[in-house]
């Protein structure tokens, strides 16, 4: 009885330590997306210039008109981490995943110059200088990448640049799964 009473606070303290240690491994800048398993919010945006078409949420398919799973990558020419992610995006596009780009809070001309320098991995680019579509998507910063299934539902959100590990262990297997699901 006595021993149990002394052990209780120690056990409680140990439990708290485990709880806080777990908390420390979590990145507070990763705000969970509330869009998961919900359809993309509706939008329809122009491209970077009159010659290049933009895209809208309809490009991602719907429950009636099923398409292929796609990636929606949010980027900007002013974004510091985007050049770091860029080679990865090139590889993803080359491996055959349709990659759509949302140029967020950016001047279309600046984005065009940026893409001319680094290369353009995107199938289509939509320009969102007013940031409203990004805000509808719950974007907190760039880069962010949404995995959208063939029915136009958001299935996953990657915050920050896609690393080789992210692609090979998370995104790529997920896309394979979604393709089989459709």
């Amino acid at each position: 009885m006595m021993r149990a009473l002394f052990a209780a606070p120690v056990a409680l303290f140990a439990a708290l330590i485990v709880f806080f240690a777990y908390g420390l491994t979590q990145d507070p800048s990763h705000i969970p997306s509330i869009l998961i398993d919900k359809p993309l919010p509706r939008f329809d945006l122009p491209g970077l210039d009159a010659a290049s078409p933009g895209f809208g949420s309809a490009a991602f398919g719907s429950p009636i008109a099923r398409g292929e799973p796609k990636l929606l990558n949010v980027f900007a020419s002013w974004c510091a981490a985007c050049p770091q992610e860029h080679p990865m995006l090139g590889r993803i596009a080359a491996e055959g995943t349709p990659l759509f780009g949302l140029d967020w809070k950016d001047q279309p001309d600046a984005a065009k110059t940026w893409l001319a320098q680094l290369g353009n991995p995107y199938a289509r680019i939509a320009s969102d200088p007013g940031a409203r579509t990004g805000i509808d998507l719950g974007v907190t910063g760039v880069p962010e990448t949404f995995v959208v299934d063939g029915r136009g539902r958001v299935r996953y959100k990657q915050i920050g640049p896609i690393t080789v590990d992210d692609w090979e262990k998370t995104l790529k297997p997920m896309l394979v799964r979604l393709r089989n699901e459709a």
Binding site: L5, I31, I34, A131, I135, T140, G141
Partner: protein
């Protein structure tokens, strides 16, 4: 002397406001409501600042959205809900009571309860373990010892 002047200047300094004049609404009543709402919305870039305090460009965008909603006739809670629909209840600096925040709201009560159980157990043991009253002969012996001392 210069030190004193610097101190006075520091005391007179007011904090810089993140809300830019161009964002503010003409209608003072709406603007007051917008300020009050913004003070409770977390800046998703800087996390522990409200959008009312933050200079982040996204905080600016969200402040403008709050004002647009109010101008369009939304109630305070509708304007807040507009942001919650996009960023989740995480944007609220005061966490709402919902399944995911149960632990946050009720853990303190639980800990107080645990403490109360501990106190009750301790007090009960103390009562149970209290020394029995002295017998007449023991009392006499103790008195004799005390007398000796004096």
């Amino acid at each position: 002397m210069r030190g004193v002047a610097a101190l006075v200047a520091l005391l007179l300094a007011v904090p810089a406001f993140a809300v830019l004049p161009a964002e503010q609404l003409r209608d003072p009543a709406l603007e007051t409501r917008a300020r009050a709402i913004s003070a409770g919305i977390r800046c998703v870039v800087c996390q522990n600042q409200s959008i009312d305090d933050s200079d982040a460009p996204l905080a600016h965008d969200l402040r403008v959205i709050v004002r647009e909603r109010l101008t369009a006739g939304a109630t305070d809670s509708q304007a807040v809900q507009y942001l919650v629909d996009r960023y989740g209840s995480y944007v609220l600096l005061k966490p709402p009571l919902e399944p995911a925040t149960m632990a946050l709201w009720f853990a303190p009560l639980g800990f107080v309860g645990l403490g109360a159980v501990g106190v009750v157990l301790y007090l009960r043991r103390r009562v149970a373990g209290a020394a029995p009253p002295l017998s007449a002969s023991d009392a006499a012996a103790a008195d004799a010892l005390l007398e000796d001392r004096i």
